[in-house]
Symmetry: C2
Subunit: 156 residues, 2 copies
Amino acid sequence: MSLPELDDFDRHLLTRMQADAHCKAETLAAEIGLSASAVQRRLKRLRERGVIQAEVAVLDPAVMGRGLTLIAGLTIGRDNYAALPRLRAWLAAEPAVQQAWYVTGEADLVALVLAPDMPAYDALCARLMAEVPQLSRITTQVVIEPLKRSLALPIA
Amino acid sequence: MSLPELDDFDRHLLTRMQADAHCKAETLAAEIGLSASAVQRRLKRLRERGVIQAEVAVLDPAVMGRGLTLIAGLTIGRDNYAALPRLRAWLAAEPAVQQAWYVTGEADLVALVLAPDMPAYDALCARLMAEVPQLSRITTQVVIEPLKRSLALPIA
DNA sequence: GCTGAAAGTGTGTTAAC
DNA sequence: GTTAACACACTTTCAGC
């Protein structure tokens, strides 16, 4: 994949689109000093090039009954490292796992889990431990309060 | 805030909108078996009620020069707990911090950081330690590979 | 209440410049 | 990149369920 060059207009557009992808091209155009047509053409190009990977709706977790957030560190025993693909697949398939990272550090994998409440999280862990027995440890950090929730990237 | 009741149509819409908020109402209508008008009306209501909090563009981190992801556990000494608001404000204001959670567990706060490379992350940590001296420890997990990246919630 | 269809409005798209 | 003509999507209205 070639790295597309972005000018200041693109950067302004991307900054704005990361905050609100629903707004009209005319609004964006007025803000960055461009015509609406130019804005749409640029947006189309950014989408086609894959700079804009998707536009998604962000929902209120409380309304959806997922008021509890947990950060789980997953550790596989040294002897069971072959089970890693299996664990990754499990995380990928589980809807309650919103995000997951394969890391180096204290744990092997870190997962961001959204649950209705603690019993539900307990049940999830039990299921995980049962279905991936090679998993040796789950260390959980309970989120008291989410401070920042976004997928936005800093724009240089 | 009253919890809005959602029917099956709403749930289908939300599921679809979490994956792609750019698609046309007519497309959604055909998929869930409703007229385009009804879909638009429902979407408007879901936005007004705050069920849909935002629609945002998701960018490619590689293209934006943020290929490195890190998970930082931040610990404040027992004596310096009054510095917590200051630390929270710092994280909120720092663009490289994409997500942050106030947690109970090994650390006091967990931050998801996006950096161009390790030197940049080092510089960020140095700046943080300098500007919030009450911070006693930063434990970093380096992300080898992101497995899942989304803000989508499971729809019951 | 909510839906579906048609009319009306505004936006996204395309072509010429 | 801008402007203008065009096509299409969204909005509103209204009748009906």
